[in-house]
Subunit: 169 residues, 2 copies
Amino acid sequence: MEVGRTETGGGEGLLFLTDEQLRKGIEAMYFAYRAFTADPDRILETHEYGRAHHRAIHFINRQPGLTVNMLLIMLGVTKQSLNRVLRTLVEDGLVEARVGRRDKRERNLFLTEKGAALERELSDAQRARMRAAYRAAGPAAVTGFRQVLEAMMDPEIRRHYQAMKDGAA
Amino acid sequence: MEVGRTETGGGEGLLFLTDEQLRKGIEAMYFAYRAFTADPDRILETHEYGRAHHRAIHFINRQPGLTVNMLLIMLGVTKQSLNRVLRTLVEDGLVEARVGRRDKRERNLFLTEKGAALERELSDAQRARMRAAYRAAGPAAVTGFRQVLEAMMDPEIRRHYQAMKDGAA
DNA sequence: ATTTTATGTCAGCCTTGTTGACTTTCCAAG
DNA sequence: CTTGGAAAGTCAACAAGGCTGACATAAAAT
């Protein structure tokens, strides 16, 4: 898994990226993502929820009090689609939607204790796999992994990603 | 985006992986995957196809002549689900399903010229994004990226992944 | 007072996954 | 040669989770 490189006069790294190398990267992305979602999916099944619920729970946990609109932007889905998911989470007592203090049109979203418990169960599983992969690949690989993923994101999303709590740890 | 590390006596790298670092990795995976699928999705729309068609086309292009059963394993879906997709591709003349020479129960799948054209259109877009991300992140990052993704895959899938044409280029 | 924004909701549609049942074809072992 | 099992295809029904479009309400902003 080596990658050719040359240095231009200016010092910019130019890569020899063959189609084959890029195709392998594409496949790696696909297969890894499948594994990445497999553990939470199994857990969600036993709770009668789906991936969409997981995503909502994840971001509400990440930024407690975020508004529906912000969540919509993070998830990149329509409000109708999100609403269906959010409604069941509120009804089931995993999420609390408080009327905004400053702007009463807004709803600030929070996980209840029950919601936080499911979040923990899900993210424990997902982090375990991520941790194992990190350990297997080593620290240098982890940095590269994150760099490539960040470079791959759409710019607006990347801004949101980088703005989220923690940033570069 | 630095990552702590220590060396044990044995020389195994031990990472200081905080929950925050792992969560960022999880989010990076999610956002990057979304971007990763966005370009092909746009193209597919104009052709009246979906992501499932893309996947089938991708792997048939990768291993011309592979059987339905092998494709089933690569994709990890049921034959009913795959069949629906495959049928439209054959009907539309993008894929040819030839009866196996040795075992006439098997169907060997091939892209027609029309199918290969769509494959090129899709993978050109996907490779362009991958190439840009690789360029931005640099050669060392690319190696790390692939290492982490491989470590994240389920072992059986990883075997198939590694066995596929090219391997480590 | 009017317009705009944030949210919620109803109805209907599509893709893509699932399970279960059943058929046809054909290889291979008894 | 017969029979068991594997590969493939198909039908039906269902669910999750996307989408669009239309519409309602409350509150902020103009």
